[in-house]
Symmetry: C2
Subunit: 638 residues, 2 copies
C-alpha cells in the first residue's frame, strides 16, 4: 500500500494565481441566443442598434394631433377653436404615429371638447414638436447599445428588442462535469435505507448548486468506486466529453484510496496539490488536455470552500460575469479563536447587533460539520500570518446574509432547548427577525449577557440552597445589570438509557452500581448542577459514580454516548432520548428561563419573542412534544 | 368616444399598502420537491432531520485505527510498536467506519511504518475517541434543520441530504401571465421588417425577465388588439387559468383605447387607478376572483418601475422570498433637478467617484427612454413633498450596480464622440473600469471639470482667434486647475443632408439660400462654434441662415431632424450621417481632445484609458469607421 503526502502546499493567493494564469484566456466560446431570453447573460461582442427608436414621430400623450401654427395665439382671453370634423385636429393615443402634416400634440386634459366631439377649444398654444416623441429620440440606428462583456439586465432586453436586435451574441454558459467518488457513498434517491458504514453522497448536489448559481450548465455523473482503473476511465471520459471543467470529488487528500492526484498527474499536469487554507486544504488543481480539472476535498465544508475559492471564479471568468466582492463589516469578537500559524482559516460565525455595533461568535470547527455552514451568517478569515484573534477585538467579517438580516438577528446564547427552535420557526413565519443560537451551557449564556454578546441567554441553573432556578446566579454574575428573567418552560430531566433499559436503572442511586458507567455534562451546565444536587440528596459522593469525570457538552452528545454503548446512562431531557430512540427514566423537573437585559425588552425583535411565548399556539406546540409543561410560561420572575 | 380620467391618484406608500393588505395571505401554496434541486427555494414548513450525521463512528483522519489503551505510555523515549498483522491496528481512510472494538485513530503522519507495513511505531499516545467523528456529531435525528420560510442555500442542500431528507416542502413558484396589448405592436420574432407606424413590443420580455428573477413561472400571451371585447375575453381566460397573478400591459392610462380599467372594474374590482409616481403613474391595481390583476403602463420605463414597485414584491411575498433593501449611498449632485411637487420622481442617474466621494448626474427624463434605464447605474428618488434638488447638494442614491463597480466608473462628460464608445468597449474587455458618458456639449464638459463632477471631458472647441482647439478655453475656464489636454482624434465635420443631396448643398455659402432650412446645435457646443467660425470665414451673418435659431443637442438629433424632413441640413460628423443613411458633405476637419485634471492621470482607470488610445488596435478600429484621423491621437497638448 503506497502512502502519499502533499506536494509542496501553496498559500491561497499563490494557488489562485497559478491556476488563473493557466486559464486566464479560457472560455466556453460565444453563442447567439434570442434577446427575449438574454437577461443575465454577458455580451461577447459590442452590440449596435439596427433600428432607431422611436422609428416614427409619435404622440407622447393622449390628446389631439394639430399643426402647432393653428394653436398660436390661444389664451384664456382668446381661446382657439379647432375643427375636428375637417381634420384641423385628430384624436391620437400615446405611442401612436403622428399623421402626416401634423407637428404637435395637445394633451386631452387641455382640450374642451364639444359634446359631439366635432370641435375642441384650447386656451394655450403648443410649440412645434411639443408632446411628440421624435424618430431616434431614444435610440439611433448604428449607435453602440452595449459594449463587450456587458451583463444584460431586464431593461437591456427592452433596449435590444426596441433596437431591432432579435438575437444577441453572448458568452456560452460553461459546462461542468462533477464526478462523485467513494466506495462508501450512496445516492439517497436510490436507497430507502442507508446500510451501516455507508455515507449519503451530498457534495455533488452542493457543488452543482454552486455551479448553477455561477451560471454553469452542470452534469453530475453517478457515484464512482474508489478504484484506480474506474476513476481513471471516468476522468478520461469526462475530459474527452464536451465538459469545459471537470471536478472530481473526492480523493484529493493523502489516504490510501486517494488516487485523484496520481491519475491527474498521469493524464495531464498537477498544478497545485494542497493549499494552506482550512477547511479546503486537500485541493488539487490540474490540467488535462488544456481543460481545468479540479480534485476537490471530501469533507463537505472543505469541498464547498475549495469550490468557492477556485471553481466559482473560473466559471464566472469564462462568461465574463463579475465576481461580487464579499460584503464586509466590523464586529466585536465574543470569544478567543486560536489558529494554527501558516494556515489561512475560514471560520464560520454567528453575528448580530447589540446596541450600536455587531458582535460575532464562532461556530465549532470541523470540515465535516455541514451545519456550521448552514447556521453561519458570516465568515471570519484568519490569515496564515496570525495565530488567532482574542476576545473583545475588532475583527472584519465577510457577511453571508444581507447586513439588514444580520442586524435583525436575535442572538440566543446559553443552554439549548428545543423550545428555542419552535420560537425560531414562529419568528421566521411572522417576523423579519431570525434567531441564531449558540450552545455554551447555562453559565456560558450568563457570561455572554455579562459581556454584552447576546440578547437572550437560556438557563436552567438550580440553586441547591434555595431550590430556586437562575435568580441567585443572575444576582451573583450580573449584579451590575438590570436583568429580566422570564420563564420559558418546565421540563423533565431523566436518565437516557439503552432501549429496553437492560440494566434496569431506576433512580439516582443506581449510578453507584459497579456495572454502570455514567456520562456527565460539563461543569457550568444546568444539568451538571442538577446531577450534583440529586447526588447530594441521595447521599452519594461523585467518586462513587463511575464516569462522573467523562463530560459531554449537549444533551444530544450524551444521548449519542449512550446509544453507542460507550456509557450506560446520562442525565438529559426526554426529547434527546426520543431523538435517538433511547429509553427515558424521569428523575426530576426543572425550570428553564430566558435571561434578557431589561434594555432589550423594548426591541421589536424581543417583543416578538415575548409575544410568541405568550401565545396559546406556542404553548400547545410545546406541550405536544412531551416532557414539557407550560404552566408558568411567560411569567416574569425578575 | 368616451374619455376617461384617473380615479383619485394615490401616493406610492398608500397604493402599496392597499394592494398588500388585499394579498398579504395570498400564496401559490406548497409543493414537495427533490432536495437535490431545492437551492434557492423557501421552506413552507419546518424541516427536521430524519437521520443523524455521521450515522456511524468514522475516522476523521487517514491513519490507523487502534484501541487508545494500546497507545498509552508511548513517547519519544519509549515508542510503542503496534502489530498490524495481528489486527492491533488497522489502516483506515478518512470518513470510513471505525471497525468494531477500536476507539481511536492515529494520523498516518505520526506512524513510523515498517517497510512491509506489518508494524507501526508511535511516539505519542491517543486518548479514546481521538480523531473519530462520532455518531450525531453534526446532525442528530429529529432536530430542527430549518424553520419555515427559510431560503435554502447550496450548503443547506448538503444538510438536507445528509439528514436523510430526499424531499423538502417549499412554497410553489407563483405563476404569472403577462398579456401584451396594443394594435400598434408587433412581435420582433415574427417580422423581419417593421411596418411604418408599428412599434416593436418589448415590455412583455422585460416584465417576464423581472418576474423570473423574482422566482416566478412566467407565461406571456400573444399580442392582443386594442379592442374591448378581445381584451375582456383574454383577461377572463387568464384569470380563469392556473395563473396566480395576471398583468395586462398596457391600456392603463386615460387614452381612448385604454379599456383595461373599465374591464377590470367590470370583471372584479379596481383597487388603485393612478399612483403619484413618475414614471409609473398610470398603474392599475385590481382584483378579479380574488386574484391580483395589474394594469401596467405602456411606456417601458413606467412599466418597469411600476412592476418593480408592485408586482415583484407580491411575487416574492408569495414565496416568502426576502425583498432585499436597496443599497444606498450619499453623493454630491452635479446638476439642478427640478421636480413637480405632489409626484414622487424616480430619476435615473450616472454616478462615480471623484476623490473621496461619489458624484451623480441625472440622465434625461422620459418614460419612453429605455436607454436611461440601461445606462443608469443609480436612482435618485425625489419625494412628492420636494420640488427638486439643487446642484451641489448631498443626496441619497439607490445603487443599481455593486458599489465597487460604481466607484470604478470613469465619468466622461462633455461632447460625445463615437471613439468614446470604442474606449468603453475596450475597457469592458480588459479592465474592471466601466465608462459612463453624459452628453452636455464641450463647454458643459469643461464646466463639469471645473466643478469636479467628471474625470474626463471630451471637447472640440475651436478658438477662432488662434485657430487652435480647446487650449484657450481650458486656460480661461480652468485657470485654477492643473489640466492635461490629450488629443483623441481629428474628425471631419460636414453637412448632413437628405439622401442624394436633392438641394445640391455644396458649401457653407449654400446656407444663405432661401430654399434651405438649417438645424443648428446648442450654444456652447463645439459644432456651434465651428459653424460660427465657418460663417465668418465665408462672410455670412447668422441672420442670413434660415433655421440658425433651431437647436438640437446631439449630432444624432440633428441627423434625425434632417431625416424627418423638418430641416434640410445640419452640421455634424460622418458617423451620424451614416447612422441614418443621410448624405454627407465634408466642410472641415476639427480636433477632438480629452480634458483630464492632472491629478487623475495616475488613477489606474485613467491609465487604462490612456493605454487604450495609444494602442495600434484602437487606432485601427477608429480609422476603419471613416471620417477620422488618428495621426495625433495620444499627443499631450497641455
Amino acid at each position: 500500500m503506497k502512502r502519499k503526502i502533499y506536494l509542496n502546499m501553496q498559500p491561497l493567493a499563490e494557488a489562485n494565481s497559478c491556476f488563473t494564469q493557466q486559464f486566464s484566456q479560457y472560455s466556453a466560446n460565444n453563442e447567439t441566443i434570442a434577446s427575449h431570453g438574454a437577461s443575465g447573460r454577458v455580451t461577447a461582442k459590442p452590440v449596435t442598434a439596427r433600428l432607431s427608436s422611436p422609428s416614427f414621430h409619435g404622440a407622447a400623450m393622449d390628446g389631439i394631433a394639430v399643426r402647432a401654427a393653428d394653436s398660436f395665439g390661444a389664451s384664456d382671453e382668446s381661446p382657439v377653436t379647432l375643427d375636428i370634423t375637417s381634420g384641423q385636429a385628430v384624436f391620437i393615443n400615446t405611442g401612436h404615429p403622428l399623421p402626416d402634416g401634423y407637428d404637435a400634440v395637445i394633451m386631452i386634459e387641455h382640450v374642451l371638447l364639444a359634446n359631439d366631439e366635432t370641435t375642441g377649444i384650447i386656451r394655450a398654444p403648443v410649440y412645434p414638436w411639443q408632446n411628440v416623441r421624435k424618430v431616434g429620440e431614444d435610440i439611433v440606428a448604428t449607435e453602440l447599445l452595449f459594449p463587450s462583456n456587458h451583463l444584460i439586465t431586464p431593461p437591456d432586453v427592452a433596449a435590444l428588442l426596441t433596437a431591432g436586435c432579435p438575437e444577441v451574441e453572448v458568452w456560452k454558459r460553461p459546462r461542468i462535469t462533477i464526478i462523485p467518488t467513494g466506495s462508501e457513498l450512496v445516492d439517497l434517491r436510490k436507497c430507502s435505507v442507508i446500510a451501516p458504514g455507508k455515507t449519503i453522497e451530498s457534495n455533488s448536489a452542493v457543488l452543482a448548486a454552486l455551479a448553477r448559481n455561477a451560471g454553469a450548465d452542470v452534469s453530475v455523473t453517478p457515484i464512482i468506486k474508489d478504484d484506480y482503473a474506474t476513476i481513471k476511465k471516468h476522468l478520461k471520459q469526462a475530459v474527452a466529453s464536451d465538459a469545459d471543467v471537470v471536478v472530481i470529488n473526492a480523493g484529493s487528500s493523502a489516504g490510501s484510496a486517494d488516487y485523484t492526484v496520481q491519475i491527474i498527474g498521469e493524464l495531464g499536469q498537477v498544478l497545485v496539490h494542497g493549499v494552506t487554507i482550512m477547511p479546503g486544504k486537500p485541493t488539487i488543481l490540474g490540467k488535462i488536455d488544456n481543460k481545468p480539472v479540479i480534485g476537490s476535498p471530501g469533507y463537505p465544508v472543505s469541498a464547498i470552500i475549495s469550490f468557492e475559492q477556485f471553481v466559482v471564479p473560473l466559471l464566472k471568468k469564462m462568461q465574463e460575469l463579475e465576481q461580487p466582492l464579499p460584503i464586509t463589516a466590523r464586529a466585536v469578537l465574543g470569544r478567543d479563536i486560536p489558529s494554527r500559524g501558516g494556515i489561512e482559516e475560514f471560520r464560520r460565525m454567528i453575528s448580530g447587533r447589540i446596541g450600536d455595533h455587531l458582535v460575532t461568535v464562532p461556530l465549532k470547527k470541523g470540515a465535516g460539520a455541514i451545519t456550521t455552514l448552514t447556521r453561519a451568517n458570516s465568515i471570519l478569515r484568519i490569515p496564515a500570518s496570525s495565530e488567532g484573534e482574542t476576545r473583545g477585538s475588532d475583527v472584519q467579517l465577510e457577511l453571508l446574509r444581507p447586513r439588514k438580516q444580520i442586524e435583525n438577528t436575535i442572538l440566543c446564547t446559553g443552554s439549548h432547548d428545543l423550545c428555542l427552535d419552535i420560537i425560531h420557526d414562529y419568528l421566521k413565519k411572522s417576523s423579519p427577525y431570525p434567531m441564531a443560537s449558540t450552545h455554551v451551557g447555562s453559565l456560558g449564556g450568563i457570561l455572554a449577557v455579562r459581556d454584552e454578546m447576546t440578547h437572550i441567554a437560556g438557563s436552567h441553573l438550580l440553586d441547591p440552597e434555595s431550590g430556586d432556578y437562575n435568580t441567585s446566579y443572575v444576582r451573583h454574575y450580573l449584579e451590575d445589570k438590570d436583568i429580566a428573567l422570564i420563564t420559558l418552560v418546565h421540563r423533565q430531566q431523566g436518565f437516557m438509557v439503552q432501549p429496553g433499559n437492560p440494566l434496569r436503572i431506576k433512580s439516582i442511586k443506581d449510578l453507584a452500581r459497579d456495572d454502570i458507567t455514567f456520562i456527565n455534562r460539563q461543569a457550568g451546565s444546568g444539568t451538571r448542577v442538577l446531577l450534583d444536587h440529586e447526588l447530594r440528596k441521595a447521599g452519594l459522593e461523585a467518586d462513587a459514580v463511575s464516569g462522573y469525570n467523562l463530560e459531554e457538552y449537549t444533551h444530544m452528545a450524551v444521548a449519542v454516548s449512550v446509544l453507542a454503548g460507550k456509557t450506560d446512562a446520562g442525565l438529559g431531557i426526554l426529547a434527546a432520548a426520543r431523538a435517538l430512540s433511547l429509553d427515558f427514566v424521569p428523575v426530576t423537573e426543572e425550570r428553564y428561563d430566558l435571561i434578557i437585559p431589561r434594555d432589550f425588552l423594548d426591541l421589536p425583535s424581543i417583543q416578538q419573542v415575548l409575544s410568541i411565548i405568550s401565545s396559546d399556539e406556542f404553548k400547545k406546540t410545546v406541550e405536544a412534544m412531551g416532557g414539557y409543561s407550560t404552566r408558568e410560561t411567560g411569567n416574569q420572575i425578575l
